[in-house]
C-alpha cells in the first residue's frame, strides 16, 4: 500500500522536475511512511511513497524489469502474485525481488496491456514502457485504490490523491460545480469527474494508455456483468452453489491473508465482518486480532453483537469509543483526506479506528466491505422489490405495508406514521419503467441539499438529471438483466465506488497508513455472485440469503440470521455542544464566509444552522445537507482559499 505520483511527456528532465516529484510525493507521505523513491528519465517522472507489507527488504519502488525497459510504481496488492511469479519463472523470467510489484513489469512484457486481466488484487498502477515511450495507468476492478490524472503543460500528470496533483498543478485548484452537484446527489463525484476542475479519476476496471505522440486510449477491461433475466440456471442446486461459495470465500480470504506483516480484521457485529473473521480462523489463524467502533447512542452502537462474536470466535479485540465531540474534532482532518464532500459523518469513526489499528502495531485489516453490493444486502434492494410489487397494483390497500418491515431500526421512520407511509413511498413510483427506479428515492433525498446552493449553482444543479445521468452509464446489456441485477450494478458503480470505497474506505484507512482488504470484492467472488439467480440473494425480503447459508456453519445462529443494521454515526448533532456549534463550523458557516466562497446561499445556510443548533434536524435531508455544506466549506477553505499556505504534507494521524 502506498502512494504514487508522476508525469509523462516533456523533454529531458530538469532539476525542477525532481523538485516537482518530491513536492507531489510529500503530500502522500501518510499513504507510505516507510520509504520513498523517484525515477526521472526522458519522458517520464515517477514517485513513490511506500507502506511496506510484502517484501519489506527488496520491494522498493519505482521498480524496473532488470533492463530498465519497463518501470512501474504501484499502490495496492496483487494477491495472486505467487502463482503469477511461478508461471512467469517457468516461462524464463528472472526475478530480482520477492515483491508482488515485480510480476507487473514481467506480465506487461509477456501480455502487453492485457497484463491487468491476470491480476487478482486491489491496485492503482502506473507503468512506463521506456522503449515505446508509453504510459499505462490501470485501476482495480471494484475501484478500491484511487488514481487521478490531469493534462497540463504538455504532460499527463497522475497521482493517488488529488492533493499531489495540486502540489504540481495549482491551476487545478478550482472546484468543479458538476463534481459538487454529483457529490451532493450520489454521495461522491461520479468518475471520471472529481471535485476539481481538470482532474479526472480513472474509473474502476479501466486502463488508460498514453502513447509517445500524446494520443490516449481508455479501455474497460472488466465490468460487473449479469446474465439475462430468465436465462437458464448455471447451478445444479442451491446447496451446491452454497458449498461452492463457501470454498471460494475461503480461498479469497486465504489469498488476502498474504503479507509479511500481521493481518487484523474489523468486526462490526454484523454478518459480513463476522463471516470474514470466521473464515480467517478457517484459514488457519487461531487467534485473530479484531477492532471495532462503539458509540454512546444505542441508535448506532452494536457492541453487544460485537462482544457475542468476540466470545464465539475467541478474538483479541479492541474497541474505539467514538463520541460526538470526537467526530466534530476529527472532521476537518477527514475532508482533507477525502478530497470530496461527504453527506454523512460515518467515515470519521472509521478513521479513528484505523488510528487505533496502527497504534496496535497493525497495518493491514480485512473487512466485510462489499458483501452488501455483491449479495444484495441493502434495504434499497428490498425497498425497490416492494415498490415494484406495489406498482403492479398501485391501488392495492396493503402492498405498500410490506415497507413497514424495512427501516425498523430508524426511530423517525415514515413507517412509524403508517397514514403517511403510503403517500411517502408512492413518491417516485412514476419512474417504475426506468432502469434506475430503485435509486430514485435516495437521490431525491440527497438532492434536497442542492436547495442550499447559491442561485447560479442551484440553477445548474436543477438542470442536472441524476436518473438520465446514471442510465447513460449503464452497459447496453443491462436492459436484459433482472431488475435486482441492474440495481446492484448502479449501487456498485455509484455509492460503492464513489463513496464507500473512497471517502469511507481507502481514505480513512490510509489516513493512518492502514491498508483495508476486502475478500468479498475478490473479482472471482463478484463474478460468481453475479451469475446467481436473484432470488438466491434476495429471498422474499431476506437479504444475502446465499451468503447466510454459506456462513451458517461458521457462525452462531443469531448472527447468521441477524437482519442487516446499516453502519451509521451521529451526523449534524456531532457539531454542537449545548447548542453551540464547533468553532470552525461557526466560522465557516458565517454569512461573510459563505458569501466569500460563493457556493451556498448564506440566508438558507443560516436557517439550517439555526435549526441544527436547536437540535431539530431529525431527517436525513437536513442532516445530509448540513454535513455536506460543512465538508464542502472545509474543502474550499483547505484546497482553494488557503492553497498557498496549504500543500503541507498530511501527517498520518496515528503514527506521529
Amino acid at each position: 500500500m502506498c502512494g504514487l505520483a508522476g508525469f509523462a511527456g516533456g523533454a529531458a528532465p530538469t532539476p525542477e522536475d525532481r523538485r516537482e516529484l518530491q513536492r507531489m510525493a510529500a503530500t502522500l507521505r501518510h499513504r507510505g511512511p516507510d520509504a520513498h523513491g523517484i525515477h526521472l528519465a526522458p519522458g517520464i517522472g515517477l514517485a513513490h511513497t511506500r507502506l511496506s507489507i510484502i517484501d519489506p527488504a527488496t520491494g522498493q519502488q519505482p521498480l524496473h524489469d532488470g533492463t530498465g525497459a519497463v518501470w512501474t510504481v504501484f499502490n495496492g496488492e496483487i494477491f495472486n502474485y505467487l502463482e503469477l511469479r511461478e508461471e512467469l519463472q517457468r516461462e524464463g523470467y528472472a526475478f530480482r525481488t520477492r515483491s508482488d510489484t515485480e510480476v507487473i513489469v514481467h506480465l506487461y512484457h509477456r501480455h502487453g496491456d492485457r497484463f491487468v486481466e491476470r491480476l487478482n488484487g486491489q491496485f492503482a498502477i502506473a507503468l512506463w514502457d521506456a522503449r515505446r515511450q508509453r504510459l499505462v495507468l490501470a485501476r482495480d476492478r471494484a475501484g478500491i485504490r484511487p488514481l487521478y490524472h490531469a493534462r497540463a503543460r504538455g504532460r499527463l500528470w497522475f497521482a493517488s490523491e488529488v492533493k499531489a496533483l495540486l502540489a504540481a498543478l495549482p491551476e487545478c485548484a478550482r472546484l468543479d460545480p458538476d463534481g459538487l452537484v454529483q457529490a451532493f446527489t450520489f454521495w461522491g463525484p461520479a468518475d471520471p469527474d472529481t471535485l476539481f476542475e481538470g482532474v479526472r479519476s480513472l474509473p474502476p476496471g479501466h486502463l488508460l494508455a498514453v502513447e509517445a505522440d500524446g494520443s490516449q486510449t481508455l479501455t474497460r477491461y472488466w465490468d460487473w456483468e449479469f446474465p439475462d433475466a430468465g436465462a437458464p440456471a448455471t447451478f445444479a442446486s442451491l446447496d451446491e452453489a452454497v458449498d461452492e461459495l463457501r470454498a471460494l470465500l475461503l480461498d479469497a480470504v486465504r489469498l488476502q491473508l498474504r503479507a509479511d506483516v500481521p493481518v487484523g480484521a474489523y468486526l462490526s457485529g454484523g454478518l459480513d465482518s463476522s463471516g470474514i473473521v470466521a473464515l480467517v480462523r478457517q484459514a488457519g489463524i487461531a487467534s485473530v486480532r479484531t477492532f471495532s467502533v462503539t458509540f454512546d447512542d444505542d441508535e448506532f452502537d452494536e457492541r453487544e453483537q460485537q462482544q457475542a462474536m468476540v466470545r464465539h470466535l475467541g478474538t483479541e479485540h479492541t474497541t474505539v469509543h467514538c463520541t460526538r465531540r470526537d467526530i466534530a474534532e476529527a472532521f476537518p482532518a477527514l475532508v482533507r483526506h477525502t478530497e470530496a464532500p461527504v453527506l454523512r459523518t460515518a467515515p470519521v469513526p472509521l478513521m479513528l479506528l484505523s488510528g487505533e489499528v496502527r497504534r496496535s502495531g497493525y497495518k493491514v485489516v480485512l473487512t466485510g466491505e462489499g458483501a452488501d453490493e455483491v449479495f444484495a444486502g441493502y434495504d434499497l434492494f428490498k425497498e425497490a422489490k416492494v415498490r415494484r410489487f406495489w406498482a403492479r397494483r398501485p391501488d392495492s390497500a396493503w402492498r405498500h405495508l410490506l415497507l413497514g418491515r424495512l427501516y425498523g431500526y430508524l426511530p423517525h421512520s415514515p413507517v412509524g406514521t403508517p397514514g403517511f407511509a403510503r403517500a411517502f413511498f408512492a413518491q417516485g413510483l412514476e419512474h417504475i419503467g426506468r432502469p434506475v427506479f430503485a435509486h430514485a428515492p435516495r437521490w431525491a433525498t440527497s438532492r434536497r441539499a442542492l436547495a442550499f446552493l447559491s442561485p447560479d449553482l442551484r440553477q445548474r444543479a436543477m438542470a442536472f438529471d441524476p436518473l438520465a445521468f446514471q442510465e447513460r452509464r449503464l452497459p447496453p446489456d443491462a436492459a436484459r438483466w433482472a431488475p435486482l441485477s441492474r440495481d446492484q450494478y448502479v449501487e456498485a458503480k455509484s455509492l460503492m465506488a464513489g463513496y464507500l470505497l473512497s471517502s469511507q474506505g481507502d481514505r480513512v484507512a490510509m489516513a493512518n497508513s492502514v491498508e483495508g482488504r476486502f475478500p468479498f470484492l475478490d473479482h472471482r467472488v463478484v463474478e460468481f455472485a453475479n451469475r446467481l439467480p436473484p432470488r438466491w440473494k434476495l429471498r422474499g425480503l431476506t437479504e444475502k440469503h446465499i451468503l447466510r447459508k454459506a456462513l451458517e456453519p461458521l457462525l452462531p445462529s443469531a448472527i447468521a440470521r441477524r437482519a442487516k443494521q446499516p453502519y451509521r454515526a451521529p451526523d449534524a448533532s456531532s457539531f454542537f455542544e449545548d447548542g453551540r456549534p464547533a468553532d470552525y463550523v461557526a466560522e465557516l458557516l458565517s454569512p461573510p464566509r459563505i458569501r466569500d466562497a460563493g457556493l451556498f446561499d448564506a440566508d438558507k445556510v443560516a436557517m439550517l444552522l439555526a435549526k441544527c443548533r436547536r437540535g431539530r434536524a431529525a431527517g436525513f435531508g437536513d442532516n445530509q445537507a448540513f454535513v455536506g455544506i460543512v465538508s464542502t466549506m472545509l474543502l474550499h477553505d483547505t484546497f482553494i482559499r488557503r492553497r498557498d499556505a496549504a500543500a503541507p504534507a498530511l501527517r498520518a494521524t496515528g503514527t506521529e
Binding site: G416, G419, R448, K604, F620, G621
Partner: protein, 85 residues
C-alpha cells in the same frame, strides 16, 4: 388563537424550518407538501411536533394522515377541528 394566527404560525414554521426561505410566495396554502418535496421521510414528525408545541394539542397516531397534514390549508382545518372538539 385566531385562524389567521394559526395559519401564520404554520406557514412561518414551514417556510423557515422546512423550506429554508423567507419568501412567502414559495408556499401556496393549498399546495401538497409531499408533491412540493417539502417534507422528507421524517418531515411529517416535524409537522406533528409543530402542532403539539404551538397549539397545545396532542396528535393521535391515527390522525397522522395526508388528509390532515399535506398542505397549510389542511393543517389549519385540522387544528381548528381539534380545538373545537
Amino acid at each position: 388563537m385566531t385562524e389567521t394566527a394559526i395559519r401564520e404560525t404554520i406557514r412561518g414554521h414551514i417556510l423557515e424550518n422546512l423550506m429554508f426561505t423567507d419568501d412567502p410566495s414559495r408556499l401556496p396554502d393549498d399546495a401538497s407538501l409531499l408533491e412540493m418535496g417539502v417534507i422528507d421521510s421524517t418531515g411529517v414528525l416535524e409537522l406533528v411536533l409543530l402542532m403539539e408545541e404551538n397549539f397545545a394539542m396532542k396528535v393521535q397516531d391515527a390522525a397522522i394522515i395526508p388528509e390532515n397534514f399535506d398542505s397549510v390549508d389542511r393543517m389549519v382545518s385540522f387544528v381548528l377541528r381539534s380545538k373545537s372538539a
